[in-house]
Symmetry: C2
Amino acid sequence: MTPPAVRLPGVQRVALLDVNETLSDMTVLRAAFERVGARPELLDTWFAATLRDGMALTASGTYADFAGVARGVLRTLLDDEAVDGVLAGFQELPVHADVEPGLRRLHEAGVRLVTLTNGSSAIPKGLLERAGLSDLIERYLDVGAVGHWKPHPAPYRYACEELGVSPDEAVLIAVHPWDIHGAKRAGLRAAWLDRAGTPYPDVFEAPDLTATDLTALAAKLAA
Amino acid sequence: MTPPAVRLPGVQRVALLDVNETLSDMTVLRAAFERVGARPELLDTWFAATLRDGMALTASGTYADFAGVARGVLRTLLDDEAVDGVLAGFQELPVHADVEPGLRRLHEAGVRLVTLTNGSSAIPKGLLERAGLSDLIERYLDVGAVGHWKPHPAPYRYACEELGVSPDEAVLIAVHPWDIHGAKRAGLRAAWLDRAGTPYPDVFEAPDLTATDLTALAAKLAA
């Protein structure tokens, strides 16, 4: 089954870029877990549990920032010194290899590039500056302004309002099916990066477009 | 710091019992992962990601049942045959050793015992029947009736309405801080079972009462 092509109508073309795992390569954090004597795969449990707790706060009508939630989970897994080591590593992540060519292609095609993260905007700002790509990014938006984590509809709608576009003029780009689902529910288009080749969970709304990495996705979007 | 004692006012005394990990010992599922050639610790990632995805659905105003969400995550981690093996093991869990004496003590003290799970009521029903404890349980409630996973306020309030008590006449008992948080936000009392001795994340509302297991908790609640 070929997914339908995304059509970005009008002159305002905006790509909202998820950050953690979508742009950043979090797998290098496995080494940070190993350095403090933990299993490297604890990274996956920690990150899933961090999202779980942040979404739990949102589901119950409350909010805390990503750093506080991430630290709270990590303290249930590691001792305090190890917690600081892992969180320091989280500030120093690289981008995936496909991010630079993908973002350049989108930028050249006139697509406005804006990050939208459940974390602090400081994380993508640092990430893209280290990668030499910050000149491609128009804005760094995060969920702190609305006090709800994605996939609550508020962050997606806030981003569209900030950028002066209607939801159907924006496409969210993310590796996480729950983020695709939230964007679709909020009226945006959504493009799924499936770097790992995993099956898309059928409990979530399907993406408008799927690609194996950002370079391939950019080729489709910019076509 | 000693947490304040929980006072359950009036003649209606209800304990809402979370199920997965609170009553059931999920650690035996590690063997199910090993049997299909996976790392046993993948259990933790799978369960955290299942809750993440269920809460994501709730945060975005949508719903799918636990079995569908759990299967969707598992299919990203294992092949189809292995998925079936793990999900079969999930139907056969035992209770923790402290559950029988704890529930008996609460029942003898006149506390009404009701399960409230993000999964299907069939799971706690089978679990407590296998443990020979079903005569202690008044009702098996789940979130399907309201279409929101805990910690959204709706399931807690629905349970209180079904049982004819006001929220402050009910105490939620759970091992998960996010569940404590949701119950407190919905106006219930909440008792945290901390079998693992982990620090309580400060992003969540604190429990009214903490105990190392259900027997110790029952002794405090029934005092």
